[in-house]
């Protein structure tokens, strides 16, 4: 893969993530920061927290998306260069969670921007967040040849 598609190879080996809080309670956000600290240390996978959306590959969104944040969330998503991926972290960003139906929330990130991976939990453990991001990256790998052959088989 490294020879045939160097861009994809480098993306899989070093995804830069942007963290956006769209109205979360800090529970998930602290767990996202905990990922960078010695016990979890996601930099060993090449995952780096990137402050600017213009340099980021993956956006980690927490929170149930408040009315005031929705416009900003869309704007930051638009600022990211393609191909871009969105991971919704926590029950709130997946569906609105405990705040679902409140007057000032929009019930989840996918009401505003497309989402590639959902990580449920309130808050999800750091291990679960790592697992979710790694699963997202694995899904970007080209399908194995055996799978493709199967697809082409006549029914």
């Amino acid at each position: 893969m490294s020879l045939t598609n160097p861009v994809l190879w480098s993306r899989l080996k070093s995804p830069w993530v942007l963290h956006f809080n769209s109205g979360a309670c800090n529970g998930c956000d602290i767990e996202v920061v905990a990922l960078l600290t010695p016990r979890y240390d996601v930099e060993r996978f090449g995952i780096k927290l990137e402050p600017s959306p213009r340099h980021a590959d993956v956006m980690l969104v927490t929170g149930s998306v408040t009315q005031q944040c929705a416009e900003r969330l869309k704007r930051i998503y638009d600022q990211m260069p393609a191909p871009k991926f969105v991971v919704a972290i926590g029950a709130c960003s997946c569906s609105g969670g405990v705040f679902r139906g409140n007057y000032n929330v929009l019930n989840g990130v996918d009401t505003v921007i497309p989402v590639n991976a959902y990580i449920p939990g309130c808050p999800p453990k750091p291990e679960a967040i790592i697992d979710g991001v790694v699963k997202l990256l694995n899904s970007l790998k080209p399908a194995k040849p055996a799978k493709e052959e199967k697809k082409n088989e006549p029914k």
Binding site: G23, C25, V33, T37, V98, F99, G101
Partner: protein, 526 residues
């Protein structure tokens, strides 16, 4: 009622013998004063003259059906809460501001105006506080008749700060998405050269309408809802709420539950303080300190997981006690982890007290004088760093704090360094409290059965959260659903401190100053 509260009631009764002010000593479990729109300022003046530590805790706006109520909850120095109750006509709710007597009330009044539609005459800066910019006019969520389904938002472009008239002043906008902020809030700094001349905050990005949502959920469901106001001090929220409900129910919690609650509350404080102490290191460019503190914070998360089953949101409080007992086999494990942490403290204390580069970045930065801290109604470690000796755990003991010996840490410098050192010393006090509680854990049941429906009544309550005094007011109407839940969080009370301390500072010192106030905006906005 505490001694101080009784004194206050006597003073008020003498002063307002022949007017329309009624003093009710036993309402809300604390004292309450019924005033009207013309006398509420006089009552406040009398209380301010009698005690320099009188401060506004919260202003509750409540829909009483025929009228709208505005309740001023005031703190007196020795553990008392006085409530001044006023009622306003529904059609034209107007009341004179108290922000000239008590500058700390500015944001409280703005919130009531935003959510209930009360007009505060003479308010220095009326405007939106928590609701979004495109919120339709004339819809006030906390009114019972507000129609909030399928709301049509206004079509307005997102507001940008207006350029200032003075050509030397440059506006630097920080947020809502910014690497230094974990949370989406916006601060416009007016900068002249390198010096900050003013701060314009725009909060409300995390407003989720928790107070309204609490009215449509049962008391038991509300415990889980209020816990999610803040992921950092979640147990404090849950504990403050269940204590308030227990006050209305008149349920007595068994002693073992009180000790377990105390342990969980102190674990909350420990992990929050360690988090902030590390974060402050990050903001002054001392990333090693950040990594060290967060490494040593992980065992605290493990202890929380052992006790409650979850690392962060513990969901351990319930009306009548706690949901899980501490098993005998876990106690030595917890004690071992705490001993390990205690061994590391001298190293950290030395860094915070003596490290020259850290002192250069923190000393004499963002100084908040004691007199300002009192006038702005500042709470928690921020107030204690300015020499204001307040701590709810000692002044108004709840749970097992009355039986456990501990010190209240105060520093007199009032700068960023003092505020961080208050937290550094409190880490050790918290470990002492947990160890004492584990050694003296009473036997017996860890919860009692409490009824689902709560009789009509109201109660106020407060606990000392990691960031300061957390206040709850609950009014019940005899059903399984509360009539009104009011939450006043410590950061909400501490915003004026940031606006005050930032002025005149170098812009490079703003992040360290900001973090030393330990802001939590999910608490502030709810």
């Amino acid at each position: 009622m505490s001694q101080n509260e009784t004194d206050m009631v006597t003073i008020l009764q003498d002063k307002f013998k022949e007017t329309s002010v009624q003093v009710q000593p036993a309402q809300l479990g604390k004292a309450a004063v019924i005033a009207d729109t013309s006398t509420h300022r006089n009552v406040l003046k009398v209380l301010l003259d009698a005690d320099e530590k009188t401060a506004v805790i919260a202003i509750t706006g409540i829909d009483l059906g025929a009228t709208l109520g505005v309740f001023y909850h005031l703190r007196t120095s020795k553990g008392g809460i006085m409530t001044i109750k006023t009622e306003l006509p529904r059609e034209d709710p107007r009341i004179n501001t108290i922000s000239d007597l008590m500058p700390g009330a500015v944001f409280h009044e703005m919130e009531v105006a935003d959510l209930l539609g009360v007009v505060f005459t003479g308010h220095p800066s009326p405007g939106r506080l928590v609701l979004p910019d495109n919120w339709p006019d004339g819809v006030f969520p906390l009114r019972k008749d507000a129609k909030l389904d399928n709301l049509k938002m206004k079509e307005t472009p997102p507001s940008e700060p207006e350029p200032s008239g003075d050509a030397r002043i440059v506006k630097v906008v920080v947020g809502p998405q910014h690497p230094a902020l974990l949370e989406p809030e916006k601060f416009a700094l007016n900068v002249e050269g390198e010096i900050v001349r003013g701060v314009e905050p725009r909060i409300g990005y995390v407003h989720r309408g928790v107070e309204k949502a609490a009215e449509s959920r049962t008391y038991l469901q509300d415990v889980y809802l209020v816990e999610r106001i803040c992921g950092i001090c979640n147990s404090c929220h849950a504990c403050a709420f269940v204590e308030t409900v227990e006050k209305i129910l008149k349920t007595e919690v068994p002693p073992r539950a009180k000790y377990i609650r105390t342990i969980i509350l102190e674990l909350n404080r420990l992990h929050s303080h360690l988090l902030t102490l590390g974060h402050a290191g990050l903001e002054i460019g001392y990333e090693t300190l950040f990594q060290y503190f967060w490494r040593d914070r992980e065992p605290i998360m493990d202890i929380t997981e052992i006790l409650t089953g979850n690392r962060v949101i513990s969901s351990s409080m319930t009306v009548g006690g706690v949901r899980r007992d501490i098993s005998k086999t876990d106690i030595p494990k917890i004690q071992g982890m705490l001993t390990d942490l205690r061994k590391k403290l001298p190293f950290y204390k030395k860094i915070y007290a003596q490290e020259p580069s850290l002192r250069m970045r923190m000393q004499n930065v963002g100084t908040l004088k004691r007199v300002d801290a009192l006038a702005l109604c500042i709470v928690g470690p921020t107030a204690r760093g300015s020499g204001v000796d307040i701590d709810v755990r000692r002044d108004d003991p709840y749970e097992a704090y009355g039986e456990i010996p501990f010190k209240v840490i105060t520093y007199n410098e009032g700068d960023t360094w003092a505020r961080m050192n208050v937290r550094m010393d409190e880490v050790e006090e918290s470990i002492n409290i947990i160890e004492y509680a584990l050694d003296h854990l009473p036997t017996g049941p860890f919860r009692v059965r409490a009824p689902r429906a709560v009789p009509a009544g109201e109660a106020v309550n407060r606990v000392e959260a990691p960031r300061g005094e957390l206040f709850y007011y609950v009014k019940s109407n005899g059903t399984a659903y509360p009539e009104r839940v009011k939450v006043r969080t410590p950061t909400f009370a501490n915003i004026p401190a940031f606006l005050k301390t930032a002025i005149g500072e170098n812009i490079a010192d703003i992040p360290a100053n900001f973090v030393s106030l330990d802001p939590c905006f999910s608490c502030t906005d709810r």
